[in-house]
Amino acid sequence: MDFPSDSENCSFDELFDAEGCARPHGTAIVDRLRTLSADELVVRQQAADAYLHDLGITFNVYGDSDGTERVWPFDVVPRVIDSSEWETIAAGLRQRIIALNLFVDDVYNARNILKQGVISEDLVLSSKTYRPQCVGLKPRNQAWCQIAGTDLVRDKDGEFYVLEDNLRCPSGVSYVLANRELMKRTFADVFQGLSVSPIEEYAENLLRTLLDSAPTHCDQPTAVLLTPGIYNSAYFEHTFLAQQMGIELVEGRDLVVLDDHVYMKTTQGLHQVDVIYRRIDDDFLDPESFRKDSTLGVANLMTAYRRGNVTIANAPGTGIADDKAIYAYVPDFIRFYLDEEPILNNVPTYLCEDESQRKHVLANLKELVVKPTNESGGYGILMGPQSTHKERLECAAAIQSNPRDWIAQPMLQLSTVPTIVDRRLCPRHVDLRPFVLHSKDTYVLPGGLTRVALEEGSMVVNSSQGGGSKDTWVLHLARDQANESRHVRVVAKEGTC
C-alpha cells in the first residue's frame, strides 16, 4: 500500500519528514503498511469496525435523531511517538498537574497567588467555574484533581503545545484501552518485534489513585464510580472503567447521605462509600449545594465531603483552572509554586478581558481562533481563517458585550497522521490527550487518545463533531536501530523513499 505524496501537506506529519521519508520511529509501521495491499488494509479496518459494533463500544451525541449510541470510530493506522520525546512530555505533564493542584488549593484557601498579584482576583472570582461552595475545603494530599486529560497539539514547527488541561471529568481513556485491544486483535503482526509502552496498567493505577485518596480513617476503603446514566455521551467509559477496576457503578439515586456519611443501596442493606470517582459535573452533584433541580446527584453530598467522610475525585471546584482565561496563566503558576520553568508550553493566548489584547484580537479575527472561556466539545469556536464575514461580525459583538468570556489564539497547524480514507492512506490532522493520575504520586499514561479529524483539512477532532481515533504508540527505539534508520534514510534519498 502506498502513501500518497505529501507535497501539498504543509503540516508536520507524525510519520514522515519534509522530504517524505519515514521518521526513525515511523519506519517500522510504514514498512509494515507498505507490505499490505489496499484490500488487506481495508479488511483489517472492517474487522475492527465489526468488533466495535459487536461489542457495543459506543458513545452518544446529544441531539442525535437516533437518540442513542454511535459505534466508536477507529482507524487502524497508529500514531507513533518516540519514547525519548515522550519522556519530556511526561515530565511536563507531571509538572503541570502538580502546579495546578497547588493553584486550586490556593484559590480556595490562602489565596497567596492572588494576594501577590500574579493573577488578578477579579479574573478568578468572576470565572463561571469558580465555586464558592468549595472555599475552605482540604482534600487529602491537597489533591483536588486526581485525574486530568491534557489536550496537546503539535504545531508545524514540530513542537507540542498544551491546548487545555481538563481537570473535571476528562473522558476518552476507555477508548485508549479499547483501541489498543483492537489493534492487538486486528493488527497483531504489526506489533511483532516492536517495543511499545504498555497501557494496560491504567485501571490498576486509577484504582490505586482513588483508594490512596480515601479519608485517612479507612483501612479498606470502598470506591464507586458515579455516573449520570445511560444517556450520557461517555456512558460506555463509565461502565468500562468500573468493570476494569471492579468497583460499583452507581447513579445518584443509588446513594444516600445519612449522618453525614455516604451509603449505597444494596440488596443487603446500606453499605458505606468512601471514595466517589464522579463523572458528573459540579453543578449536578448535590441539589442542596449546587443546582437545585438536579436529579443526578446526591442530596447533602457536600456536607459529607466537608466533614471529611468521603473523598470526591475530582474534587468540586477544579473547574476554575479549566477556564481558558486562567489557563493562560499556567506557566506563571509553575514558576510561582515550583520555581521552575515550564517544560511544556501553552499556546500563546490573548485575553479579551485586557483592553489592548482585545483590540488586537478584534483587528485580527481572520487569523485567529476565538474561543469562549468555558465551553467544551469544540462548540462556540470561531476558526478565523475559515470563517465568513457574518460569523466574524457575530463573534466581535459577543466579545464586545462580554470580553471576560473570550480568548483568542493563533491558528495552529495540527500535525497529521496517515488515515484510511476510501481505501487510500491520506494525511489527517490529529491531537493528543494523555491522561495523568495524581494523588500520593503521579502516573502519566504512555501515549493517550489520538483524535483525528476525518474530514480533509478539518482540524475539529471531537467525536461529537465527526472525529475519529487512533491507537497511540510510545515506541522504544534501540539507539542502534535509530542510527540504522537514519542511515537508510540518507541512502534512500538518492533513489525513492
Binding site: 459494533h53 471492579g246 443509588d254 444494596t266 440488596t267 443487603q268 446500606l270
Partner: protein, 344 residues
C-alpha cells in the same frame, strides 16, 4: 449488589426467557396448521390467547387472525411489549445499564442476539419463521450457558436464575391453560390421529415430549397435565420451576455467608430480614403443589388452578421487588451491612 443492578439483572433474564418461550411455542404450533382446511381463526387464535394479550392484538390488527398478522404480532411487532423483538430489546436495555457487572461474553452474546433480532424484524421474512425461532432459542441457550460458565454463583447469578424460573413457570402455565382448555372439548376424539397430533404439540411447546414418553409412555391427558404442572424433575414443569426459584432465592439471600458457617448464616438472615416475606410465599406455593394430586386439579377446574397459580407467582414477583429492589426510607435508612461482608 446494588438494588438497581439486581433489578436489571432480574428483568434482563425474564425478558430473555420470555422471548425464548414465545419462539418455541410459535415454532411448534405453526406446523399444526399445515395441510388443514379449518377456519383460519381456529388455527391461529390459540397462539394469541396463550399470551393473554387478545385485546391488544385485536386492536392492532382489526381482529384479523391471519397467519401473517399473528406471526408479525408475536415475533416482530415493536409496538407490542411481549413480542420477541421487544423482549430482546428490553433485555439488552437492562443489560446495558449494568454491563459492568456482566461477564464480557454475556454482554457480547446478548448484543449479537439483539442485532440478529433487529435485522430479522426489519426483514420480516415470513418464509423463514422456523429458522428464526430456532435462532432465538439457540441464542437464549447460548446466553444461559455463557452465564453459567462465567458467572460467580453469587447474588447476581441467583437473581438471574430466579428470574428465569419465574418466567418459565408462568409461560408453562399459560401453555397448559390454553392448550388443555382447547383440547378438552375434543375428548370424544381421544386416541384419534388428530388428537395425538395436538397433544404431541402441547408437549413439544414445552420441549417435554421426549421426557414425557420416557416417564409415562402413551399420551393420557391427565398424565400430561400432571407432568407439566407437578413433575418435580422436568425442567419446565411449573412445580420444578417453583422449587428452583425458591432455591435461587435462598442462595441469593445466603450468598454473603461463609458456606461453612451456619451460625453466621443465621445471623445474617435474621439481622436484615430481607427476602423473608418473598421466601415465605414461595415456600407456601411449593408446599401446596407438593401435596396436590392432578385429580384434584382437574376436578376443581384446571383453568381456575392455573389462574390462581399465576396470581401467586405475580405476588411473589411483587414481594421480591419490594424487598430487594425498592427503596423505602422508613424501612431501609439504617446502615446494617458489616463492611467485610459486602460483595458486589
Amino acid at each position: 449488589m446494588l438494588s438497581r443492578v439486581a433489578e436489571s439483572i432480574y428483568w434482563m433474564n425474564r425478558y430473555i426467557e420470555r422471548a425464548e418461550n414465545v419462539a418455541r411455542f410459535i415454532d411448534v404450533n405453526m406446523y399444526l396448521t399445515v395441510g388443514k382446511n379449518d377456519r383460519l381463526s381456529d388455527q391461529w387464535q390459540p397462539l394469541i390467547s396463550t399470551t393473554g394479550d387478545d385485546e391488544e392484538f385485536c386492536e392492532a390488527y382489526d381482529g384479523v387472525c391471519s397467519r401473517e398478522n399473528v406471526l408479525n404480532f408475536l415475533l416482530f411487532d415493536e409496538g407490542y411489549a411481549n413480542s420477541v423483538v421487544s423482549c430482546v430489546k428490553r433485555a439488552r436495555e437492562n443489560a446495558r445499564r449494568v454491563r459492568q457487572v456482566l461477564p464480557l461474553v454475556v454482554w457480547e452474546q446478548l448484543n449479537l442476539f439483539y442485532h440478529m433480532v433487529c435485522q430479522a424484524a426489519d426483514r420480516r421474512d415470513l418464509a423463514r419463521i422456523h429458522e428464526f425461532c430456532e435462532e432465538v432459542r439457540l441464542a437464549s441457550h447460548l446466553l444461559g450457558g455463557a452465564e453459567d460458565a462465567t458467572s460467580s454463583k453469587g447474588e447476581a447469578w441467583n437473581f438471574a436464575r430466579l428470574a428465569r424460573m419465574s418466567e418459565r413457570a408462568d409461560k408453562t402455565s399459560r401453555i397448559v391453560d390454553v392448550q388443555y382448555f382447547l383440547l378438552l372439548p375434543e375428548q370424544e376424539r381421544i386416541g384419534s390421529a388428530l388428537d395425538v397430533l395436538r397433544w404431541t404439540a402441547l408437549l413439544q411447546s414445552t420441549s417435554a415430549l421426549m421426557m414425557y414418553r420416557r416417564q409415562h409412555g402413551r399420551i393420557v391427558p391427565d398424565r400430561v397435565a400432571e407432568f407439566l404442572i407437578l413433575d418435580p424433575l422436568f425442567s419446565r414443569s411449573m412445580y420444578h420451576c417453583v422449587l428452583a426459584a425458591r432455591n435461587a432465592l435462598e442462595n441469593a439471600m445466603n450468598s454473603l455467608a461463609d458456606p461453612g458457617n451456619a451460625a453466621q448464616e443465621a445471623t445474617l438472615r435474621t439481622a436484615h430480614g430481607r427476602g423473608r416475606a418473598t421466601m415465605q410465599q414461595l415456600e407456601q406455593l411449593a408446599d401446596s403443589m407438593r401435596r396436590t394430586k392432578v385429580k384434584q386439579i382437574i376436578s376443581g377446574g384446571l383453568h381456575e388452578y392455573v389462574d390462581d397459580f399465576q396470581q401467586q407467582l405475580n405476588d411473589v414477583g411483587e414481594s421480591l421487588s419490594d424487598e430487594f429492589f425498592a427503596w423505602r426510607a422508613e424501612r431501609d435508612a439504617v446502615p446494617m451491612v458489616a463492611r467485610e461482608q459486602y460483595q458486589s
